[in-house]
Amino acid sequence: MAKTLDVRGEICPYPMMRTVSELKKLTAGEQTLEVVTDHAPALDTIPTQAARLGFATAIEEVGGSEWRLVLTRKENAS
């Protein structure tokens, strides 16, 4: 089961900030966070923030200037 975070409509830098705080709140059993955003700069910053917390990022273009970022916990996260 993936948790979802919808940050559409948020101004800079809240899509990134809120993603980071949600990732930090995930329990050990929660492997995936799906972030839905309409803010293009988030595509450049979230992958690094996610990687530092041990998550890999996959991006899907939903269309209409919206993206779904699927952040999955990496197997050997520190």
Binding site: I11, D38, T57
Partner: protein
């Protein structure tokens, strides 16, 4: 089963291609209108047309590069992420080299005491410090600086329109206070142009070394925060034909974000071209003129600003009754260029903030930016991106306190998440 998956994939691909075609047509329409405006304006005034063209170029590069000076500073403190700052530094380096060459031709004999006539060499004093601090706080709270807000206005961000409104209010307030600032600080402050003490080449070398030192500091900040991974991209499908290859190329240029270093280099290069053509990039003086004209229409004419005739940069442009000048076309071009770029990328979308507090942030951040850029005679462009390449000390002083203000701003926005 495999056939079903292939069908679904084909369906998604053709839907995506249809969307891309629609976006391309919209963009072509927008660019055609922009081109028509260029031709029409050229007949009225070639300078206006030139600035419209520059505006289009700046707006397009900002939008395609997702380039924001505010996030360059903010993300260093907030996220330990230096991507945008690296782009800014490269743009500054390229512009410095170009500006230095032009200025060496403008002022060949340094003991004459002349300053380059159009470079952004501005009096540096308390107004620079306070202006930069206010601007730094404001740009982080508002979610974007002036150029960032301008390009996001073209993408459909309602919050950026609100920030722009705040900017106009802040600039108007600074206009009403300008004469006090002129008398107390600006008229008494020195103009320090590095070539006067270091020579043309020496000033450029010192500037580039300083930019290099900042670059190393950015790398250190990033390493301290952890690893850095490249921006992820949506998975590309297999290219099976020349048509697919062309579509993929089209996506890279018109849809996917540009690498930040390319955008930064392009902005630096465009600034050199603009400076060679007329003057460095900068527009808060012009927006301040709009505020003054609007206020005058409502019966509250601001006082005539002292000293502005002698100063370059984004000092307040006094009202001369004209509706538009070359800078008006620059700003208009930036909106049009980012709008057309966003259309082509399918990134134009009317975006309204999810929470009402964001409107307050955008407005108040805008006011701070307006007042700060009013007294500092420029924003992240005029007082920073065009001042450092002008080899002027005011650019560095502005940059330092901009950073301090941005850091304070990050403390504030963390609280109102």
């Amino acid at each position: 089963m495999a056939t079903n998956a292939a069908h679904v994939q084909a369906g998604l691909t053709s839907a995506r291609n249809a969307g891309a075609t629609r976006d391309a047509l919209r963009a072509i329409a927008a660019w055609s209108v922009a081109g028509l405006v260029l031709l029409l304006v050229y007949r009225i005034d070639t300078q206006f047309a030139r600035f419209w063209a520059f505006g289009l170029a700046f707006g397009l590069v900002l939008q395609r590069g997702r380039f924001c000076f505010a996030s360059a500073f903010r993300d260093l403190f907030l996220l330990g992420h230096g991507r945008n700052m690296k782009g800014v530094l490269l743009g500054l380096a390229i512009a410095s080299i170009g500006f230095a060459i032009v200025m060496a031709r403008q002022v060949p004999f340094l003991d004459s005491g002349f300053l380059p006539p159009t470079a952004n060499v501005l009096p540096v004093g308390m107004h620079t410090v306070l202006g930069a601090l206010l601007f730094g706080v404001g740009m982080v709270v508002a979610g974007g600086c002036v150029s960032g807000s301008l390009y996001r206005m073209g993408e459909g961000y309602a919050a950026s329109w609100v920030a722009f409104g705040g900017l106009m209010v802040g600039l108007l307030a600074a206009r009403f206070n300008w004469n006090w600032w002129w008398e107390t600080s600006i008229s008494r402050s020195p103009l320090i142009w590095l070539p006067n003490s270091l020579g043309h080449a020496g000033a450029l070398v010192v500037t580039l070394l300083a930019l290099g030192a900042v670059f190393v500091a950015v790398l250190w900040i990033e390493r301290r925060a952890g690893m850095v991974v490249p921006a992820a991209r949506p998975a590309d499908e297999m290219s099976n034909s020349v048509a697919d290859d062309l579509r993929s190329l089209g996506r890279t240029v018109f849809v996917r974000g540009w690498p930040i270093l390319i955008a930064g280099a392009a902005l630096g290069g465009l600034n050199v071209l603009l400076f060679t053509s007329q003057e460095p990039w900068g527009f808060t003086g012009e927006v301040g003129r709009w505020s003054g004209e609007l206020a005058a229409m409502l019966g509250a004419t601001p006082p005539i600003p002292l000293g502005v005739g002698e100063l370059p940069g984004c000092v307040f442009v006094p009202s001369d009754g004209s509706l538009a000048n070359h800078m008006t076309f620059m700003v208009g071009g930036m909106w049009a260029g980012s709008f057309a770029g966003a259309l082509g990328a399918g990134e134009f979308k009317l975006r309204f903030p999810a929470q009402p507090v964001r409107y307050v942030q955008s407005a108040s951040g805008g006011v701070l930016m307006g007042y700060g850029s009013g007294i500092a005679m420029g924003c992240t462009i005029g007082a920073f991106f065009s001042s450092i390449p002008s080899l002027a000390i005011n650019g560095w002083v502005f940059a330092v306190f901009l950073g301090v203000g941005a850091w304070i701003g990050t403390l504030i926005i963390r609280r109102i998440a």
